[in-house]
Amino acid sequence: MPDLKMDMTVNGRRVTKPAGPHMRLLDYLRDELGLTGSKEGCGAGECGSCSVFVDGKLMKSCLMPVAKADGAVIETIESLAQNGNLNPLQRAFYKTGASQCGYCIPGMVMAASAALRENPLADAEEIKERLGGNICRCTGYSKIFEAVEIARDVINGTLPATALDAPGAGQSYIGNNVRRLDAPGKVTGALRYAGDMVMPGMLHMQVLRSPHPHALIKSIDTSAAEAMPGVACVITAADVPGVDGFGVFVHDQPVMAKDRVRYVGEAVAAVAAEDLLTARAARDAIKIVYEPLPAVFDPEAAMGDGAPVLHDYAPDNIVKHIPIRKGDVEKGFAEADLIVEQTYSTQPVEHAYLEPEAGLAYVDHDGVVTVVSPSQNITHHRHMLAKIIDKPIHKVRFIMSPVGGGFGGKEDMIFQGMLALAAMKTGRPVRLVFSREESIVSTAKRHPARITCKMGLKNDGRITAVDFRMISDGGAYGMSTEGVMRKAAILSCGPYAVENVKIDTYGIYTNNTPSGAFRTFGAMQAQFATESHLDICAEKLGLDSFEIRRINMMRDGATTHTRQKLGSVSLGRVMEAAEQASGWQAGPPVSRGLARNDLGGPGNRRPCTLGARLRPGSEQLREEVA
């Protein structure tokens, strides 16, 4: 199909550059016009990161074919700051700290602009409703709401413009709400993430992934793909010159599957081509013959006799077992007046950073293999890649691009090796940008856990013993599992002084999507169990939730479950602070909600009913303001 003739107005300028017939408005803005402030977060209209105005109406540009935008007036995030001066809304985002990783922020600023254009007097509830189509994974939205309300009041003249100014130096810059130095680049869309970067002569990569959870690779035929015009190279495990393997603790994962795939979505081969469409077509032309193997999806089944073995070095499928033993749990249980045992489970969770994985690699004039990516661990990635590509370490360079959300999910070197190999094979820069679906299927999740907690207590609430057993699905590769099991074990029984503990955490290989680092590194799963358990015990003993914890809490100089002697322990202070701030009414947790008198206080938001806060009077209000 020939290119489309275009004639539209973008940020006040007429644009007539032709467009590819396959392009969405987002592709045209980003790839043809270089307006990379609009971000692609999901490609499905769910996240709002690509929001722009089309003829004054807020639209998700990933859902709009560019042909439909012909003749339209488009406004993007780049249009808001005139001559580099932030507008009041952008200044309010800057003031309140409403941007964190910043990837969702251009779309969020556009949605907030739309909210205040639609109703300049929108109240807090209406603002929330109007931002409901935009996802932010970092901020918890609270500072965004605050920013929009401040901007609204400044624009309406009910707050002075000085409300948007920086705080002063005061007596110190420590303990000072200095505005984020990176915010202007984020609220204007100026900051370039890896997927926004281009280099002259750059190739585009696409990755062929396993459709099987467990299979042998009998053959890979890349000849048709390599013969396609515009294809620069196809790479497979055979292209790895050094020792193939990466992982945060155990290097059990090849850059691309070698002889065998262990999960659905595992990279098997990659193509670098002149453009994305060619790369996709070539990827689809690679022929792979698989021989499916028996697979195992449940960690407890994987620990059993006769289960399929994923990695030869771990015949029992155990990635890591962390034991902690202190005191004598049997003696502790014998002394207990009450013993409570309960099993808990937590689900796998996706990091859902708004920036899907992306990277750019090249070999520089000194022969240094350079990878630019939002890696959370460039130091370790450099160590691993040097061995994989068999180069001296100073001939490998990692540059950490701005990270559009990480939460642990970008600690693994999941794609950087493929980029480096393709750059070395072609001598050209190569870029890879994951789709949202690719990001979800191929990258690590929070470890799901199954935890059995057995706790013995005296009638006065003192814990005499805890037996804590956690089994976690590590998925197909080791990644951070060892460390996650270690941290989960150390912290499992909570900040409570317990003389007798027996703790075991197990990370297990299965043919599920790998589990990896995720904010709290196992501590959340473990303490979910312990903190639920304490409330169950408190109910049985007739103790208040704070009280049972106070009876057992570690105090200054306490000894931990791993027998470390602590210095100052602030737990009593933080519990008192939360109890007082919430106006907590003491009493045992016997499902007394109906009888409480501390509910509905000023620290709550109003409950919501969808759509109810868009007031029919908005139109009138706007006229009054005008």
Binding site: K128, T343, P495, V574, A577, R605
Partner: protein, 339 residues
């Protein structure tokens, strides 16, 4: 019991700062630069938590200039000293202290020249917000002038810093060891409203008290707490990566449900400061720990509201309704038994 009922729950938590059961380390370089500005170079960059601003604040305070005068050269294994990884709630603690140490060395070089020039004791010299002076005198100049003077005397005021933690690995048999040198503690209270007809849970309020050691940027700390709570809320109530025979059925945001603006409770943060005695800054960290107590506080609040104990996350409407039905049946059985 029918309709919308409220309840409250709480949970406490603890967490270790920086890498676990191993010696952690981070490095930084600092230079007081022309114009009274500064360059700080270290090997990590922003992942959204605000570390660049925190480092600029630390450098500004240590050097006596303004945060916006600090340029951070970051993120490059070939151009900056090792700072290792951006995770483990280690950025403020590890890199922050490395930057403080580097800045102290750079400042000491400048102060030595200035003390000689003014003929005053080095420890009488103070600096803040772009000015430097000798206490108890009228000797004062801008930092721009001071850097110029220092360089004209042949000295470039620069420094380096390396910060490490003193930890041990765990014994492989009994797990004994000292995995961290700094610990933080937290406590959260959740207030929920449960719709007993639909099973839907709304979290209306969260009160979150967290020890951060020393808050470099209190607003930034709040931002971390708010973000962590909303991730914890997602895990407690809705997020669920589903996988069947190795294939996910939640491969996009239409299927994988995330918290939006409408799900967010009012978050009331209380920052507690128990300074770390083992590091120059006294700051600890907040990135990860604020997520820990959220889900158990919410689940305990659900129990308080409706008497249903959710032991399997997430607490979906289906599980709430199933729990209510089981409870109702149990109530009937016990009533019959009593009769």
């Amino acid at each position: 019991m029918s309709g919308k009922v409220r309840g409250r729950g709480m949970a406490a938590s603890w967490y270790g700062i920086a890498r676990t059961a191993t010696i952690d380390r981070a490095g930084a370089w600092a230079e007081l630069d022309d114009g009274g500005t500064a360059k700080v170079v270290t090997g990590v960059t922003e992942i959204g938590e605000g570390i660049l601003t925190v480092l600029a604040q630390i450098a500004a305070e240590e050097l006596g200039i303004k945060p916006e005068q600090v340029t951070i050269g970051d993120n490059d294994t070939a151009r900056s000293p090792e700072a290792a990884h951006a995770g483990a709630t280690r950025q403020t603690y590890m890199i922050g202290n490395a930057v403080a140490l580097a800045c102290r060395e750079a400042r000491a070089r400048l102060v030595a020249e200035l003390a000689d020039f003014w003929d005053v004791a080095e420890d009488s010299i103070e600096a803040f917000d772009g000015e430097i002076w000798a206490a108890g005198s009228n000797l004062k100049m801008t930092m721009e002038e001071a850097v110029d003077l220092c360089k004209k005397r042949g000295v470039v005021p620069l420094g380096s810093g390396s910060f490490s933690t003193d930890c041990t690995g765990l014994d492989p048999v009994d797990g004994s060891g000292s995995p961290w040198q700094a610990y933080v503690y937290g406590c959260q209270v959740a207030e929920v409203e449960v719709d007993t007809v639909t099973g839907e849970v709304q979290v209306l309020g969260m009160w979150a008290a967290h020890d951060v050691g020393r808050a470099i940027n209190p607003r930034g700390v709040e931002g971390q707490i708010e973000g962590a709570i909303v991730q914890g809320l997602g895990q407690a109530l809705m997020e669920d990566y589903k996988i069947e025979n190795g294939h996910t059925t939640t491969h996009g945001f239409a299927k994988y449900i995330l918290p939006t603006a409408l799900d967010v409770p009012q978050i009331n943060s209380i920052i507690v400061e128990d300074p770390d005695p083992l590091s120059p800054l006294g700051a600890k960290g907040i990135g990860e720990p604020a997520l820990i107590p959220t889900a158990p506080a919410i689940v305990n609040a659900i129990y308080d509201a409706i008497g249903v104990r959710i032991t399997s996350l997430p607490a979906t409407p289906e599980k709430i309704l199933a729990g209510l039905a089981a409870k109702h049946q149990g109530d009937n059985i016990s009533r019959e038994a009593a009769e």
